[in-house]
Amino acid sequence: MSETVLRVDDLTMHYTTRAGEVSAVNNVSFSLQRGQSMGLVGESGCGKTSVAFSLMKLLPDNAHIKQGHIYLNGTDVVSLREEDMRKLRWSKISMVFQAAMNALNPVYKVGDQILEAMETHGLVETLQSAREHIASLFELVGLDPKLMDQYPHEYSGGMRQRAVIAMALSCNPDIIIADEPTTALDVIVQDALLREMIELQKKLNMSMIYISHDIAVIAEVTERIGVMYAGRMAEFGSAVEIFKHPLHPYTFGLMSSFPSIVGEKRELVSLPGEPPDLINPPSGCRFHPRCPYATEICSQQDPEFKDLGGDHYVACWHPLEAN
């Protein structure tokens, strides 16, 4: 077994809003090995992005980590001082943003924005070597190195996305979080970019957390999958396992709502209902109002998140295999 770069233990994070406490992340646990890629799937508003920002401790003022630990290379970042956390950001854990198009400051040259990150983390020995490093990064992500002296508005959407990926790689982080990095692009560019990112991750032996609402895409490219529902981790395991034997009814629902091109013909099932209100989440299992297999216990008691064998975790009273 290789080294664990990230372990999230029982993480709970709340937002305080005018309308009340929003439990955005609830008792989430998972771990990630070096060089491993992991997908985080769920409907919008299920807490995927909140998990990502908790990992970087880039939370707005009204968000509080209530309990749990995040071990980054063995250090618990939850209790870390802001100044020390700042040094870990980008050098240990970096991020490709959801709206990567806007993640570049319009008034500075793209190359300078990357250089700035390297400078902050003390990775610039001479300007020349730093620029060479940036040029090599540009080549790595398929951009012309000459572009580094241009401004973001001179780039196309796809180019900007690549530049942001180059920026995320610039300080050789252990983990890259990619938060739906391709949603703003057209489908063909999306697919190409996704594959390139995975290739890069393998080549550079980094770990990657890939966030998406599309379980089909995730299952195709990542090794492990975490399925989130209403701030909870519903199921966690290897991609193959989960795709072949989904245990949680929600995972099954998610998979059934996408047509499979290669497999046998299946009827598309859409999940009835909507994700719950996180200010007043349903009692017991949060999925029970939408679950076709729900029984009495589901609405009363919260199922435990446990290993059902083969490193395959699920939080459900009635895992599908059993049915």
Binding site: W90, F97, A103, P106, E116, A117, H121, H153
Partner: protein, 383 residues
């Protein structure tokens, strides 16, 4: 870039023409202008009236009069001021305008600098009673009735503490035995100020290329050299104390204006910063692990600066408006006071001259703003 600037230049010139036209219409379309008063003198015979009309050019068609006026305006010929008879309007403006410009430019630059710094910090540290206090205090200063506020300043600094003179441009008692007149001294003061500002600006800009360790010493040494140079020059001319007198009279009006204007800039910067802070690139900058100060000063404030620049331009365009109020309270003999007193005695040529002066000020301000925009925002520079 060039196309953008040419475009803006053409637009501004067009606007300036429209402005001149408006000033002309405003004066010419008045019922009962001074010419009518002059002509309605019952002692005039109809023949004499015709001759007078002809001499005044009132018999010509409106359009011709308009073009004549435009031509003269471009040659700087606004006629003779009634209230400063027999001085030319342009002559009066040449004397008074620098006094207004120096007063307002200093105050405006000062207030924008301080306002921007405080607004930035206010937006960054959001929430709490400090914010409410700053906002209410800022709004209070921003909306205060300016003549009254100026009066209070006079009361406090000049009347109670007696630190500064109560008003006026200079102290007549001191100047009685002066070998030179005020304009002579003031012109030299302006030249000194301009030259030293230029030298400092160039050195400060050049110093940016040096190592961080050398930057500050180089700048400080230059500043000291310039200050010593100014001091040496003014002691050698022998009229230093007269210059000091003018400076002494400048402090209170500048302080008053800067205090009032700074609040507006602070409030504007705060809002502009708050909008910028929601941008994704701010989050990205934080994620990169940049220290807060760099995120704030390099990434956020640079983008938040644009609306502030716009407001700065408008402030410069409104110099005459502010001038009327401040200069009246401080008896500062600038353009504002000139305009007000000219309007009160219906000195039309002077009024028109003053309005055109404002137009030119506003025009230059807008052009400078366009240049600044191009400098600050690469999206404009390369469009």
């Amino acid at each position: 870039m060039r196309r953008y600037l040419l475009n803006r230049l053409a637009q501004n010139i067009l606007i300036f023409f429209a402005f001149l036209t408006l000033v002309y219409v405003l004066v010419d379309a008045q019922p009962g202008s001074y010419a009518d008063q002059y002509l309605s003198d019952p002692r005039l015979t109809p023949a004499q009236r015709e001759i007078l009309k002809k001499n005044l050019g009132l018999d010509r068609p409106v359009l011709e009069r308009y073009f004549l006026w435009l031509r003269n305006a471009f040659r700087g010929d606004f006629g003779i001021s009634f209230s400063n008879y027999p001085r030319q309007v342009l002559d009066v403006i040449a004397e008074r305008a620098p006094r207004t410009i120096i007063l307002f430019l200093t105050a405006t630059i000062l207030s924008y600098y301080i306002g921007f710094l405080t607004g930035k910090i206010l937006a960054w540290k959001r929430g709490g009673w400090g914010e409410y206090a700053a906002t209410i205090g800022g709004v209070g200063l921003y909306t205060v009735f300016l003549p009254w506020f100026a009066l209070m300043m006079v009361w406090f600094w000049a009347y109670t503490l007696k630190v500064f003179p109560i008003g006026k441009f200079l102290d007549p008692v001191l100047w009685r035995q002066s070998p030179v007149d005020a304009n002579y001294v003031f012109t030299r003061m302006l030249i000194t100020a301009f030259l030293s500002a230029l030298i400092l600006f160039i050195v400060f800009i050049l110093a940016r290329r040096l190592n961080p360790a050398q930057r500050t010493p180089v700048r400080l040494v230059t500043l000291a050299v310039v200050l010593i140079g100014i001091f040496a020059y003014w002691s050698s001319t022998g009229v230093g104390r007269y210059a000091a007198d003018i400076l002494h009279h400048l402090v209170l009006p500048i302080f008053t204006l800067a205090t009032v204007n700074f609040a507006g800039t602070m409030l504007l910067t705060r809002n502009s910063m708050l909008e910028t802070l929601r941008e994704d690139y701010i989050m990205a900058a934080k994620a990169k692990g940049l220290p807060d100060q760099i995120v704030r000063d390099k990434h956020a404030s640079r983008n938040a600066l644009l609306p502030v620049v716009t407001s700065f331009v408008l402030a410069v365009a409104f110099i005459l408006d502010g001038g009327v109020i401040t200069e009246t309270t401080f008896s500062w003999p600038g353009m504002g006071l000139t305009l007000l007193s000219a309007a009160l005695v219906q000195d039309i040529p002077m009024v028109v001259g003053a309005l055109v002066f404002t137009g030119i000020m506003a025009l230059s301000a807008h052009l400078i703003a366009d240049l600044l925009y191009a400098f600050l925002d690469p999206r404009i520079r390369y469009a």
